[in-house]
Symmetry: C2
Subunit: 245 residues, 2 copies
DNA sequence: TTCGAGTCAAGAACAATGTTCGTAAGCGTC
DNA sequence: GACGCTTACGAACATTGTTCTTGACTCGAA
């Protein structure tokens, strides 16, 4: 058919069909993915669902994103953009380190299920590196050796990610069982632990109650305390103000 | 057709058709799963592949195992059976704690990809509990409070699992890239880090070399050292032999 | 103005996966 | 010898990530 195409478009009709909705970029995909993720969780984040959110088909996404893995990388980086990097200082050093890790898990757990994909990624994205750089700065202010600082970044990130991972999966499991089970599962677990035979588990059986004390945050704080105490004990010099003048 | 079934079976023919191969139990399934896992990795461990390994169809497995998740639980428990639980003692306490964690990751990394499914499982299996009980015993010998011991079991397990997870995924990624890439990826990463702009990453850029120093074991030892130092510093009393008599 | 190359979108399809349905076979008991 | 009851399992279903291929549109040059 002969189409009269190059006429000035009459204003009462939509000028073109394709770029009516904005033309689908990496950024738009990542933003939509975060929307789906926060609203419906990781299991709902399929390429089809994501395409639907963008008003297109799943195949279109692969023009902008190589893999689902690459999408995950982009998601992590986008989330890391929200981490507020503090300034480094030797004062209150231990608390500053702790606060940074707390801030990381705050962001990581503020987006639903993001913890489940955060682990075991080699940091290359801009925002991930920005966070690592900030962490390195905070650590170096404590006077640790360069090698200790470098590895500490690794370990603290691992800890933050691992906690977020467990937290995310635990929350999911909890929500799932809440809908399916009548007795709240935690009581079930408490019963189970208390019923352990004391002769087979001489240490565990008497401590059933203590094992179940505290929520995820308490445990996180405990582990964080261990790590930071360990770091502090590796400082070659004690803090300058208590050093003999 | 009329089948003469209740005749005494002639010894020169296989007596029955069904129980010729042994009748498919949880144990057999778990054993076969471990075989497939060790030989071909987690991605190859599909219900079909597992059924094939047992000479049956995938549907048959679901009579003995509720889920793939339950299969994973059983796998973890089976692997935990290999962990050698040491005896508790106050002597060389810190090194004993370390050795126990080392033993855990040794087992966890000795089976291919098992680290990828070890995290975020609520410990209920016999062998998992046995390991937790042993860990608790070793920790208590150090004189920590009950609450500290309980949470330390959690944190140390989390650390062992997280390290195994990363190690497993990292090894997979490394093996994959080794076949596809010509330049060994680690050099690529080193180049990338060294090329980071120093004005945007003032801490990271000068430390590119240090960041990449050490393999997974070194980093694991470093984190383990942090945790155990932290635990030691929480001991209410220093070790008895240095206490004033 | 027209053609042609090139880019982007997207429907359809493919292969693989976990899981369930329905049916059949064997075993124990009345 | 017939009836349950457990176990086995081929076939099928729904969902997933991903690719193939066709079509729509853009833009630059003849």
């Amino acid at each position: 058919m002969l189409a009269a195409m190059n006429l000035p478009v009459p204003p009462w009709q939509t000028p073109k069909k394709r770029p009516a909705k904005q033309p689908l970029s990496r950024e738009a995909i990542v933003a939509a993915a975060l929307t789906v993720l926060d609203a419906e969780g990781l299991d709902a984040l399929t390429m089809r669902r994501l395409a639907e959110e963008l008003g297109t088909g799943p195949a279109s996404l692969y023009a902008h994103v190589k893999d689902k893995e690459e999408l995950y990388d982009l998601l992590i980086d986008a989330v890391c953009a929200e981490v507020r990097v503090p300034e480094a200082s030797a004062e209150d050093w231990e608390e500053r380190v702790k606060d940074f890790v707390r801030e990381s898990v705050r962001v990581l757990t503020s987006h639903r299920d993001i913890g489940r994909i955060a682990m075991a990624r080699i940091p290359t994205g801009f925002n991930v590196l920005r966070v690592a750089d900030g962490m390195l700065g905070v650590l170096k202010a404590g006077g640790l050796s360069d090698q200790d600082c470098a590895w500490a970044v690794d370990i603290l990130s691992l800890y933050a990610n691992a906690h977020s991972y467990e937290s995310s999966l635990f929350e999911q499991k909890l929500a799932w069982q809440e809908n399916m089970l009548e007795v709240p599962f935690f009581e079930q677990l408490a019963e189970y632990y208390k019923a352990l035979p004391a002769d087979t588990f001489p240490n565990l059986a008497p401590m059933a109650a203590v094992m179940l004390t505290g929520n995820g945050d308490d445990r996180f704080e405990f582990g964080l305390d261990l790590l930071v105490r360990g770091l502090a004990s590796r400082r070659p010099t004690v803090s300058p103000e208590v050093r003999p003048a």
